[in-house]
């Protein structure tokens, strides 16, 4: 049976690598929807992926800022109408602006929560309301959500919320046979990591494709044996 996968934050980093892997996986995925904001990176990376995928896979581009809830709801409705059931959802889009508590701008905290917490919630809830039945949902949290870290208040708080939200989703969606996976990558060489740790040499830490490989495994049959709690991925 042909399956559809939707990946947020798919313009680069872990999301883009996940799109690459799922487009070439043996999970019967025939449609891969890449969701991200408009950017030059998205244009270039999407074009490169299009050139790479085989005939059996349809790529779809959904240009939306997941932090804009109204726009996100519209996009979800359009995607569901055009492509039907989303079997695999990878909530990967993330945002951070790491500053100490004295410098946190509340609007920025709200933006962090909007992208990291409310967007995955909205995607899942809207699709459920539309009658969507998920096979697997993967929520990307972070090791920063397990232990708070000085200077990362907004990010740590948002990722802690993702971890606990995932536990509730896992329990509530069992009635549909949906698996809910929460992945907490440690240091990964992404654009977001460069914001968190600008001095770090990206070549010395985990690469996005490593996390993408774990995501693919979690979506597949092997994943059911390891998805009962927050899964930590680190080098």
């Amino acid at each position: 049976m042909s399956k559809t996968a939707l990946i947020t934050g798919a313009s680069k980093g872990i999301g883009l690598e996940t799109a690459h892997r799922l487009a070439a996986s043996d999970l019967d995925i025939t449609t891969v929807i890449l969701m991200a904001r408009q950017s030059d990176d998205f244009d270039a990376n999407y074009a490169a992926l299009e050139a790479e995928v085989g005939d059996g896979v349809t790529l779809v581009r959904s240009i939306v800022d997941v932090g804009d809830r109204d726009a996100l709801i519209v996009a979800i409705g359009e995607l569901y109408e055009a492509h039907g059931t989303i079997h695999y959802l990878v909530n990967n889009a993330g945002y951070t602006n790491p500053v100490p508590i004295h410098q946190v701008d509340f609007a920025d905290f709200e933006r962090t929560m909007a992208v990291n917490v409310y967007a995955p919630f909205t995607l899942v809830q809207e699709l459920l309301h539309l009658g969507n039945r998920f096979d697997v949902i993967v929520n990307i949290a972070s090791t920063a959500g397990i232990n708070g870290r000085s200077g990362w208040l907004t990010y740590s708080a948002s990722k802690a919320a993702v971890i606990n939200m995932s536990e509730v989703m896992r329990d509530e969606l069992k009635i549909y046979g949906t698996r809910v996976v929460c992945l907490s990558p440690g240091r990964t060489a992404t654009a977001l990591r460069r914001v968190l740790a600008p001095e770090e040499d990206p070549s010395t830490i985990m690469q996005p494709q490593h996390v993408a490989q774990v995501i693919e495994t979690m979506l597949g049959p092997t994943g059911q044996y390891v998805d009962q709690q927050n899964v930590i991925v680190r080098q």
Partner: protein, 228 residues
């Protein structure tokens, strides 16, 4: 094509819950959702007729909407008794056969409904052997009045399946004879209608007390684990 009658109008007197027991949550999910979701998976069920505790129609409609129940749902008022509630629900049915279930039994599966639909019998329900001895008594004098043969007794569970005309005849019989029944299989049998049973499950719990809520939560969590 078959209709599901979902009894959902009780007021939770025995469960001693704050609100109507239909909105008791099992594992965080309103109990009625489990039956609606199971029925929604069965293609043969083309309509669901359910009743609601007085004043709670809006709550129920919101649940049906939020949980994206695709099967068309009709609503009926709850009667003064279970028997009267079933009669009111029957008036809304448009198919020739009905499944009868109650939302207080959340551990129902789509396959349970299919087992009944696929049965050759027109009137059939799940029943379970009883593991304890039942004595006939006179409650007024506390006197034991005889004995009952356990192997010839069954615990009546739901869901059940009935031919609509047969079930209506059963209710007419009950009204005419002035007899009050707490379920429909024995009512129809007393009316001379053939009713059969298939073996039920010990997990098919009817949630009536706060302890049952905990037990159902545990059972559903375990079943969920087994299913995924």
């Amino acid at each position: 094509m078959i209709s599901l009658i979902l009894l959902n109008g009780g007021v939770g007197a025995r469960a001693r819950t704050a609100g109507p027991k239909q909105f008791v949550k099992i594992n965080g999910v309103p109990i009625v959702v489990y039956s609606l979701k199971a029925a929604d998976e069965v293609a043969e069920i083309t309509e669901i007729v359910l009743n609601f505790p007085p004043g709670h129609r809006d709550t129920l409609e919101a649940l049906v909407r939020d949980y994206a129940i695709q099967t068309p749902v009709k609503y009926a008022d709850a009667g003064q008794t279970r028997q009267q509630s079933v009669a009111l629900l029957l008036d809304q049915v448009t198919n020739d056969d009905v499944l009868l279930h109650e939302s207080a039994r959340p551990i129902v599966t789509a396959d349970d409904f299919r087992t009944l639909i696929n049965s050759d019998h027109a009137n059939v329900g799940f029943m379970r052997e009883i593991s304890f001895t039942v004595a006939p008594v006179d409650p007024d004098t506390s006197r034991v009045t005889g004995s009952l043969e356990r192997s010839r007794l069954r615990n009546v569970q739901l869901p059940q399946k009935f031919n609509l005309d047969d079930l209506r005849r059963g209710h007419e019989f009950a009204s005419a004879s002035g007899t009050h029944y707490t379920e429909d299989a024995t009512m129809c049998a007393d009316a001379g209608i053939d009713v059969f049973f298939v073996e039920g499950s010990e997990h098919n719990l009817k949630v009536t007390t706060p302890g049952d809520v905990n037990l159902a939560t545990m059972l559903l969590r375990r079943e969920g684990d087994e299913n995924v």
